[in-house]
Symmetry: C2
Subunit: 312 residues, 2 copies
Amino acid sequence: MGMHELSIGVDMGGTTLKAAVVRETEIVQRAEPVSTRECSTPQELINCLAERLRTLRQQYPEARAVGMGLPGFVDHAGGKVDSLTNVPGWYDVPIRQILEDVSGLPASVENDANCMAYAEWRLGAAQGMSDVVCLTFGTGVGAGVVSNGQLLRGAMSAAGEIGQVSIDYRGRIGHYGNRGAVEDYIGNNELMREAQILYAASQGEAPIEMETPIHLENAAKVGCPVAQTLWDDAARKLATCLLNCHYILNPQAFVIGGGISKAGELLFAPLRRYLQSQIYPPHFAKLQILPAKLGSDAGIIGSARLALDELP
Amino acid sequence: MGMHELSIGVDMGGTTLKAAVVRETEIVQRAEPVSTRECSTPQELINCLAERLRTLRQQYPEARAVGMGLPGFVDHAGGKVDSLTNVPGWYDVPIRQILEDVSGLPASVENDANCMAYAEWRLGAAQGMSDVVCLTFGTGVGAGVVSNGQLLRGAMSAAGEIGQVSIDYRGRIGHYGNRGAVEDYIGNNELMREAQILYAASQGEAPIEMETPIHLENAAKVGCPVAQTLWDDAARKLATCLLNCHYILNPQAFVIGGGISKAGELLFAPLRRYLQSQIYPPHFAKLQILPAKLGSDAGIIGSARLALDELP
């Protein structure tokens, strides 16, 4: 089924839209990025995207399909955006038809985190697995689930919103009014806010630079007890979220990428410890916790692959 | 596919094994129950079951298949019990082959709560849905998940363990060492323990009888504020568990049966309220919360139907 064919992947984020011609996991040709914020309507963004797609098609006329990931609720089967989380104006947009019209290629549309998960499953860290949960950290927590050898979409294209999983029924109120969403504890901003509070409360001094998880990572690695406590606490909270996925979905693996996952063993060692102590041992023994393989291009790679996989 | 054919369903619980000839949702003929506790080895229980199956087959030779639900980790594809939660001695038992040998019929084996969910999905409250979560309350919380039109089993036959979903990352330590499992807050015993603590702390007197959720239900219905607080609190905790299922699986419906669900609106009204305030409104609008239809025979009905559905 055309394993080495070319297709075009589009990854729309809250700030940037990226498009590229892709072969397997290789980015063959990138288009100039589009600033999502500078487009005030879906039509403006679509005009910019149409221009990028025409250029890519001229350069690679052999590209056979186009796939696009969007940050919100995307009805894959119906080919439309229901709504986007942080981009206003996107309601009931028949984006698949629009993509086919402007590109002249068969198109496929999906949630952006689902595209990332699809890439890791088809071509990355989770290749060949039947059941897997992929997470990527950033401002929030993006995630996608493969269950029984299929991308899990749910009844209203809203499955896999793992950043919204509650770890505390009395916790803080989040994006949808829901209490204790894990993303509100271990997203980049929340983690740094927590760091500032802990440093203020401790007698010790905060390192000079303490603005991103990388600073926190460096502080922990040179032995700062405040930073170490913070990483352990983040691992504990993330473990509870993954436990919930385990007990509901029973995946073979968790694939974890982006943001705080770059801290490596600082996060993964306590994470494994918290999971091991809370999962039936024969099940923990078979559960893999893997770093993501495809990095920040996973969304492009996944949307491009999905479009190719769905060609008739 | 033989919608009105007969098959035999077997439902093994922690205390009782029940078997019956089933047509659709109708129990055509029950066998004498077996006390699970009086059988000290799997072989003893299998001997008792074999005798029941022979009798049922003699009475209904037209029964075409036998299905069995067991309380623990059951490898459906491999046809064996990995382990049972509260019944000692059941490790790596090739139960499907045993059933086929003793009954002379094609057999199918599955987790007991999955059988209940299968029954509600195929023949009960969730008929025709593609994505549904079924829960049944008792000493613990049993559950099964249908996702994308298939029973969700996971990588190690351990999916759908929704009673183990954590609602508090700092909560009490449960069966698998896991913290905050919802079953440890709203199982019958835990609920009544909570009731005793609250009544002891309150100035008011506990009603004369306060031993099961039915007493708690009666107290709430006659306006006892302690009991009403308890129901509201149970609904709030259950809502957090269902929220987690919603954000991970995005089902069309939750089907809820057994134990505390019998309290009806006392539970369902605050449950709906807590869910509504914590789910994106267009998604909540399409989410159904339904009482189970098939009652305490759902396990028998589901295992009998599963066996029939899997005939070649």
